[in-house]
Structure formats: structure tokens, C-alpha cells
């Protein structure tokens, strides 16, 4: 489905906790077309500072509303967090290739798939989990510490089992979420027709891809990269693959783990 450039009315923009925010805007067009893993590219102000749009993954849709989950990290997201309900945002979307949903036959102890979320990675994966209605995926969430564990309640509310890994052991498994993933796969031992979906920091995705390949499991990874245009024109956001450089904005942001050469 083709993207469009629209002026979308902000419905709500609220701090969830710490630097984490939820924003909802009105767009029947984007809400109707959006697929899990796709993103929108937002001009946060009318000024030339910051110059570029900010790509944010789609966290969910409800009738004509599009929901975003973002962390205030720099100038762009700080300005976005100051935007008020009723104001209009210049939004381009939906953009990129999202996740492919698994077929019916996939099972792992009742789980169709494993979703691995590192840091803000829960933002697109919650949208994916909502669309996995045939069987509930198993969710693995990784964070540095307990207060940085995101989206756990939302995943649980969908009926999914959630396992947590923290670097400091303040919640769940002590260690990397990828170590937890290895442990889960060892215990399951029948991962042949299972899919892994992951979003998080690049080193985590690389580790997930290796674990998936070693276990002969398909993995779909959602990548992040600085973008100038978001629509496949500038060739700025490329990632190395077996078939050369590919654009994160247009060929991705979701790539097969087998395809990437890191």
C-alpha cells in the first residue's frame, strides 16, 4: 500500500514513565493501511531545526487512530513531546516493509512464535503481537534494569506469556535477553517450524540472528538506522546484505536474519 503525506491531528501525547511517551494521532488512512513493523516519518516542528523527519514505528492502531510509543532522547523527540492534543503533525506513512505473519501450523508448546524485544523494541512488536490471533507468541523482553522493562503488561494483557531478562538481574533472568532466548530454545528443542521476531539494539539483533541460524529457525529483525528521506530516495540508510546494500526505509525495516551480513 502506498504511503501518503498528511496533516494528522494529535489526539493525545502523554508521558508514560521516565522519558517514555505515548502519542496518538488521527488518520483513518494510515490506521487502515498500517502493517506491524511499518513506520511513520514525522516532521516534529515547522522549523529547520531539527531539519529531518523522525521515523517512529507504529505501536498500534484502533479504528482511525495511530498509536506511537517513543523515548525522548534528543532534540526531535523532545520537541515532539511538547506537541499538544489538537495540533497537527506532518506525517508520512505508512512506510517500509513490515513483518510477515506466521502460518497456522507453527507450534512451540502452544506458541506460534517468539518475539524478542530489547529496549524500545516492544514498540513495533506489540502491534505484531496484536495481529497474531491464531496463537499467542512467547514474549522475551530485555532491558538493562527493571525500570527499563517496557510493554510487559501490554503483552500480558494480550494473553501472551512474558519472560524478562535484565543485565543486572533486578527482574527475571539475569543476563542478556539473547541468553534467555538460547535457554528457551534448548528447553523447547523442536524449533524447526518456529519463527523469531525481534526488534532492539543492533548487537542484540545480530545475536538473535546467529541463534536463529544455529537452530535453523527463521528470524525477522526490525532494524533502525538514521534516515534522511524514509521513502527510498536518498540511499542514506543502507544495511549490508547478501545481495548488496539494502535500504532500511524501503526494503526494510524488517529483514530476514539469513539475509543480513552485519
Amino acid at each position: 500500500m502506498l504511503p501518503e503525506q498528511i496533516k494528522a491531528k494529535i489526539i493525545s501525547n502523554k508521558r508514560f514513565k521516565d522519558n517514555y511517551w505515548h502519542l496518538e494521532f488521527e488518520s483513518g488512512l494510515i490506521a487502515g493501511r498500517a502493517l506491524p513493523g511499518q513506520f511513520v516519518n514525522i516532521k516534529v516542528s515547522d522549523d529547520v531545526e531539527p531539519l529531518l523527519r523522525r521515523p517512529l514505528s507504529i505501536h498500534g492502531t484502533q479504528s482511525s487512530k495511530v498509536r506511537l510509543f517513543y523515548e525522548v532522547l534528543g532534540m526531535g523527540t523532545r520537541i515532539l513531546s511538547n506537541r499538544r492534543p489538537g495540533e497537527f503533525l506532518d506525517v508520512i506513512g505508512p512506510l517500509g516493509n513490515g513483518f510477515s505473519l506466521p502460518g497456522k501450523g507453527h507450534r512451540l508448546g502452544g506458541q506460534a512464535a517468539i518475539l524478542v524485544a530489547g529496549g524500545m523494541g516492544g514498540a513495533p512488536l506489540l502491534f505484531l503481537a496484536k495481529k497474531m490471533i491464531l496463537s499467542k507468541p512467547l514474549i522475551l523482553i530485555g532491558a538493562r534494569t527493571k525500570s527499563k522493562v517496557l510493554c510487559a503488561q501490554e503483552f500480558k494483557a494480550l494473553g501472551s506469556a512474558v519472560k524478562i531478562a535484565t543485565d543486572d538481574g533486578s527482574a527475571g533472568f539475569k543476563g542478556r535477553v539473547t541468553e534467555l532466548l538460547s535457554q528457551v530454545l534448548r528447553e523447547a528443542k523442536n524449533g524447526g517450524d518456529l519463527s523469531i521476531y525481534a526488534c532492539g539494539p543492533r548487537p542484540m539483533l545480530k545475536a538473535v540472528s546467529k541463534i536463529a541460524c544455529d537452530n535453523n529457525i527463521d528470524s525477522q529483525l526490525s532494524l533502525e538506522e538514521h534516515m534522511a528521506c524514509g521513502i527510498g530516495a536518498c540511499l542514506g540508510c543502507v544495511v549490508a546484505t547478501k545481495s548488496g546494500y539494502k535500504m532500511v526505509c524501503k526494503d526494510g525495516p524488517v529483514f530476514s536474519g539469513k539475509e543480513l551480513t552485519w
Binding site: 503525506q5 531539519l51 529531518l52 523527519r53 528521506c229 521513502i231 530516495a233 540511499l235 540508510c237 546494500y245
Partner: protein, 305 residues
């Protein structure tokens, strides 16, 4: 009164003077969901080289104050695949197509490119990109008046097509280089390409761009571009296509007043895909408000303050 926006650039006519800059508009099809491409004055393609190029190591872009750095490194499918796969879409649009071309190792590559494109009637002009800052060269062709003269002369012998020479702002005297292009038979000059720039991640103490240095574009470079267009306009007779941080009609007008006969929208395409179309309507309104019948009253109309 409906203003006449048409302008002649060397050997071809544009229905309006608003083009899109090479490397910022892909091969046009990327923008089809957002604008009516047929409304543009002309399209300049991403630069094409003889052989396919993978381009530079990522990360390739980063944001800077009111601007951005890019180091794409002329990633492109090569001339054969361009003609086979990208040109058919451009031909169908029915507006002037300007193909940007560059050499990598040897200026002789321009002869291969020019002779391929000379035969294609839908190609209105060739833009000689002798000013890409991202090829890790010690010196660009457009940083030397003699090299510029020789290169343009070489291509001039091979084709009757309109030649536009794109120049680098990283020079001591832009008018000296523009004059060399004019004397060698260039039909127009395009200025400016990006300015060399660099940005550093202070936590990692690494460059923010994979190839270390890059080209700066966006509103940050606009005053540099306007001054260079004014300087060149005072010295050369061939038309100037002005670019460098044009975001909207106000910034576009500065370029016309400084002496540009046409303008190219570059980085703005990334931020607002409709920028070029909005500038065309803004120009119509400005000309009507100022009782301008055509562009001749606007181009180079700068007065002393």
C-alpha cells in the same frame, strides 16, 4: 494576468524553472505517491556511472544544525541498467529529463556515458557531476579551471545535447571555474554541489559518517550558494541553475534575484516531498503580485541596498 514561467536553459525549454536536484529525488518514481511529477520543470536523476556502484560504507547520513551530511558515494546501477530499468519511467513523464553523469577513475568514462545517452531523444540534457565530494579524491575536476575546461571540451565534442556542468563550492573562485566551463562549451552551470563537512560522535570519538567526511547540504549552506550564484552571474553569460538549501518559495526567490535562471530543490525533497510543487505555485503568486509577465524581470534583479 497569468505569468509565463517558462525559461530556456541552453538548448531546451522548461515550462517552469523549478527542477529537482540530483541525488535527492532518486529516479522520480520514489516521489510518485506524493506529487504530480508532470508539474516539475525538469528532473535531474541520481548520478549514473559506467559500472554499477555499491556506494560508501554506512552510516551515510547525519543531521547537523539546519542541515545534513551525506556520503552516499554515487551508489547507482550503472549506465546499462539505468537505461533498461530506470529511464522508461522517466521517459513516460513527458517532462525534460536531465541525466547526471560522473567518472570514477578516468575522465574518459564521461565519453562512454555521453555516447550512450546522446542517442536517447527523451534525455534533454546531461549534467556533468565533476563535484561529488564523496569519492575520496585529493582534488575534484571542478576544483581546477584547466581540468574543468578539458573535461567539458571532451564531452562537448561527443554530443549536441545540452550540457550542464555542476560545480563545487569548495574553491577559491567560483567564477573562474564557471568561466572555464562556459569557454569549453557548457550550455549552463549548476551551483552549488555540497560543501565538504564532517561531524564527530564525542562519546565514541568516531566520525558520524562511515567514510569520515561527507557533503553538507540544507538551509545551513544557503548563504554560501546565494553568494556564489551572484558572483558567477556577474562573470558568465550562460544560465545558472541555482541550488543549495532551497526549502520554500522565499528561499527560491533569493536564488533567482541573485542571478539563477532556474533552481533545483534538493535536501527539501527529503523533508517535504511536495516542496518543489509548492515553490512552483509560490512563484506564480509572487510574479502575479509583482506584475511580472515573465521571469526576465526577476532573474538577476538584485539592486544595491
Amino acid at each position: 494576468m497569468k505569468p509565463d514561467l517558462s525559461v530556456r536553459i541552453g538548448k531546451f525549454d522548461l515550462k517552469n524553472p523549478v527542477m529537482v536536484a540530483s541525488g535527492t529525488f532518486g529516479y522520480a518514481e520514489e516521489f510518485a505517491p506524493f506529487i504530480d511529477l508532470k508539474k516539475l520543470g525538469a528532473i535531474v536523476t541520481k548520478t549514473i556511472t559506467v559500472s554499477p556502484r555499491l556506494g560508501n560504507l554506512p552510516p551515510r547520513t547525519c543531521e547537523t544544525p539546519a542541515g545534513m551530511l551525506n556520503s552516499i558515494g554515487l551508489e547507482n546501477p550503472g549506465i546499462d541498467k539505468f537505461i533498461r530499468e530506470k529511464l522508461p519511467f522517466l521517459k513516460k513523464l513527458g517532462i525534460p529529463v536531465i541525466v547526471s553523469i560522473a567518472s570514477i577513475d578516468d575522465p574518459g568514462e564521461f565519453t562512454v556515458l555521453a555516447s550512450h545517452l546522446d542517442k536517447i531523444k527523451e534525455v534533454s540534457a546531461l549534467e556533468l557531476n565533476i563535484s561529488c565530494p564523496n569519492l575520496h579524491k585529493d582534488k575534484l575536476i571542478s576544483q581546477d579551471a584547466k581540468d574543468t575546461f578539458e573535461l567539458v571540451s571532451l564531452v562537448r565534442k561527443l554530443t549536441q545535447k545540452c550540457l550542464i556542468t555542476k560545480l563545487s563550492p569548495n574553491v577559491t573562485s567560483i567564477s573562474e571555474i564557471a568561466l572555464a566551463a562556459e569557454r569549453a562549451g557548457s550550455d549552463a552551470v549548476a551551483l552549488i554541489n555540497t560543501l565538504g563537512g564532517m561531524s564527530i560522535d564525542i562519546d565514541k570519538r568516531t566520525p558520524k559518517i562511515g567514510s569520515w567526511s561527507a557533503g553538507l547540504s540544507g538551509p545551513a549552506i544557503r548563504p554560501v550558494a546565494v553568494k556564489m550564484i551572484w558572483e558567477a552571474h556577474n562573470k558568465i553569460k550562460i544560465p545558472i541553475i541555482g541550488m543549495g538549501g532551497i526549502m520554500d518559495i522565499q528561499s527560491a526567490l533569493e536564488f533567482f534575484i541573485a542571478g539563477a535562471s532556474a533552481i533545483s530543490v534538493g535536501t527539501a525533497n527529503f523533508i517535504n516531498p511536495r516542496a518543489s510543487i509548492e515553490i512552483i505555485s509560490g512563484l506564480k503568486a509572487y510574479m502575479a503580485d509583482n506584475n511580472m509577465r515573465d521571469l526576465s524581470g526577476l532573474i538577476g534583479s538584485l539592486r544595491a541596498c
